[in-house]
């Protein structure tokens, strides 16, 4: 591949970085564009990746139901993981990113040259979504939300046990446990992974997505939609983070409020919460470095996060490194 690839280097890059997002000139599509475009390839259903207003969407078949739920009537198509699709002068395929159910890295191949755009990813399995798979490539576009060495995750089982202990202690003292977590991905990972100490109640935003994922065949425990039945004191409520600013907390009696997010590793982010649990759907520092190495890529572009220091780190490790931003990769 090396010699053929060298020949390709003289051609225009497979992906370019434009104000609308990552663009493939030979395929005429964008990846996770943040402005309305004709043709969007979307890595997953979180709102900062699956934007409204594109003329057509292509994602994994597993990501499609949640994307349709969030965006309403859209022209969209789903591909199975690994299924190849010719678009213009390139071949694209989607590969598990381990971030949330249906999430993907997108592989783009043009005449033997391979680029992969990671989307958001984590490398450790979470028990609900499809596990991350490294994809060999020449150029890797990596997120770096937690791209600093202060971000190192503990094993899931330890964190989930801690959450169960907090929930159990609250139940024993007659306090309802309220756990703030993103409604798609993190919420389901929590309900599936926390050893149960009582019934689980869900905010409507969480339950809507949970029902969709259940219908798709993801194995998720029984949950109760908040507000439809009386709330026992040993309940755990899983709700999106904005619930912390809502009137809900004032209406359910004594509560303990916890937050599950990678940001909870920072003391400043834990302030004001009754409990904080470091649990992320993004790769930590060792995870990012391992994932990049596993691709075998020699050229790496950083996006979403601490891009400046992360790019400098990659350079110090011998990669040809850049940042995703308006302008052409060189």
């Amino acid at each position: 591949m090396g010699l053929r690839y060298l020949g390709m280097m003289t051609r225009a890059p497979v992906l370019t970085f434009t104000p609308k997002g990552i663009y493939c000139p030979d395929g005429g599509f964008y990846i996770d564009p943040h402005h309305a475009v004709e043709r969007a390839l979307v890595t997953h259903g979180h709102s900062d990746h699956a934007y409204r207003g594109h003329k057509s969407y292509l994602c994994t078949d597993l990501a499609l139901p949640v994307i349709r739920h969030r965006l309403g009537r859209i022209e969209a198509e789903g591909l199975a993981y690994g299924e190849r699709r010719q678009i213009g002068g390139v071949t694209v395929s989607f590969h598990p990113a381990g971030h949330v159910p249906g999430s993907a890295q997108i592989r783009i191949e043009r005449g033997g040259e391979v680029w992969v755009a990671s989307g958001d990813y984590k490398v450790t399995p979470d028990g609900v979504c499809e596990a991350f798979e490294p994809v060999a490539c020449h150029t890797f576009i990596t997120e770096c939300t937690f791209g600093l060495p202060i971000f190192q995750w503990r094993p899931d089982t330890d964190v989930l046990r801690e959450i169960a202990q907090w929930w159990g202690a609250n139940a024993a003292e007659g306090r309802v446990s309220v756990l703030a977590a993103y409604s798609f991905g993190k919420a389901q990972r929590l309900m599936a992974g926390i050893p149960a100490q009582g019934p689980i109640y869900t905010h409507g935003a969480v339950e809507d997505v949970t029902e969709i994922l259940r219908e798709q065949g993801y194995t998720l425990p029984v949950t109760h939609r908040l507000g439809l039945s009386p709330l026992p004191r040993d309940a755990l409520i899983i709700a999106p983070p904005n619930v912390l600013n809502s009137d809900l907390l004032g209406t359910i009696g004594p509560v303990s409020v916890g937050f599950a997010s990678g940001w909870m590793t920072l003391a400043a982010r834990r302030r004001g919460l009754d409990a904080a649990f470091t649990l992320s759907d993004h790769a930590d520092w060792p995870g990012l470095n391992a994932a990049i190495k596993a691709t075998g890529a020699t050229q790496v572009f950083a996006t979403h996060g601490y891009t400046g220091p992360f790019r400098a780190w990659l350079e110090s490790q011998g990669y040809q490194a850049g940042i995703v931003g308006p302008g052409m990769p060189t």
Partner: protein, 267 residues
């Protein structure tokens, strides 16, 4: 030691945390905790910079990454704790930690900390580093200056935003420059509109923080102040609260920093 670290995190806002700690901790640890929280602390065995240097050397962290980490945490004890490898050993009790630190000297400090660090999670190592560096400041709430003053209202201008939260940093003017005074969670009905404005007007991103033009004005209140030389404004505000967005106010209508130091307001 782990429970004590949790107590330190909870104490500033939850006075019942001490009773909960007493119920869980041994009598010996509870007595040690009370001593620490009332000002009887072990002598400094190493400066905060030195502790951070030891961790940076052991982890091989280059300077540019260390600088980026410090920008995120703003705290040497916390940065050092988070750069350490994951814990593997049995956690020490609080009393064991304090006795170990008391018997340590500047000459044995590095070996002492290197033996304790692998036994504790990062948030407990943050407290350990502060105790070793003589920078541990947590006190019992009753020792904190009263905050029963009526709230005072300010008009302040938004200069930084962390979309996660979201949290906004508000500032007052000094010589035409906005000086940050408080970071507050954005909990207003107009939050979506304000965040849309932020996305459209971001000047620069520093990690999770977006810098925006000093244009949107908010009304906030607080119950008092305490001097803090580590803040650019020289003060910590007690109980700052976001009241409302003032969509019609122009940035020059935000208060001057002098309003915080007004002797008529600060008896």
């Amino acid at each position: 030691m782990i429970r004590f670290a949790a107590l330190c995190a909870a104490l500033p806002r939850d006075k019942s945390a001490l009773a909960a700690y007493q119920a869980e901790a041994t009598a010996e640890d509870f007595a040690t905790a009370l001593a620490l929280l009332t000002g009887q602390r072990p002598r400094r065995i190493a400066a905060p910079d030195l502790i951070l240097t030891w961790v940076v050397e052991a982890s091989g962290t280059p300077d540019f990454l260390l600088a980026a980490c410090m920008d995120v945490t703003g705290d040497r004890a916390e940065t050092a704790a988070l750069l350490l490898p994951a814990a593997t050993g049995t956690p020490p009790t609080l009393t064991e930690v304090i006795q170990t630190l008391t018997h340590a000297t500047p000459l044995t400090a590095r070996a002492t900390l290197a033996a304790l660090w692998p036994r504790l999670p990062p948030y407990a190592n943050t407290i350990l580093n502060r105790l070793a560096a003589g920078s541990f400041r947590t006190t019992l709430p009753k020792l904190v200056p009263p905050t029963n003053q009526p709230p005072r209202t300010l008009r302040a201008v938004m200069i930084l935003v962390q979309p996660a939260g979201p949290e906004i940093t508000l500032a007052l003017w000094r010589d035409g420059v906005p000086i940050p005074i408080a970071r507050l969670t954005l909990t207003l009905p107009e939050t979506p509109a304000i965040m849309a404005w932020v996305r459209a007007h971001t000047l620069e991103k520093f990690g999770p923080v977006r810098k925006v033009p000093a244009a949107l004005v908010f009304e906030m209140d607080y119950t008092g102040t305490a001097p803090n030389n580590r803040r650019k404004c020289g003060l910590d505000l007690h109980h700052p609260r976001l009241l409302r967005w003032l969509p019609d106010a122009t940035p020059d209508q935000a208060d001057d920093l002098a309003a915080l130091h007004d002797p008529a307001l600060d008896p």
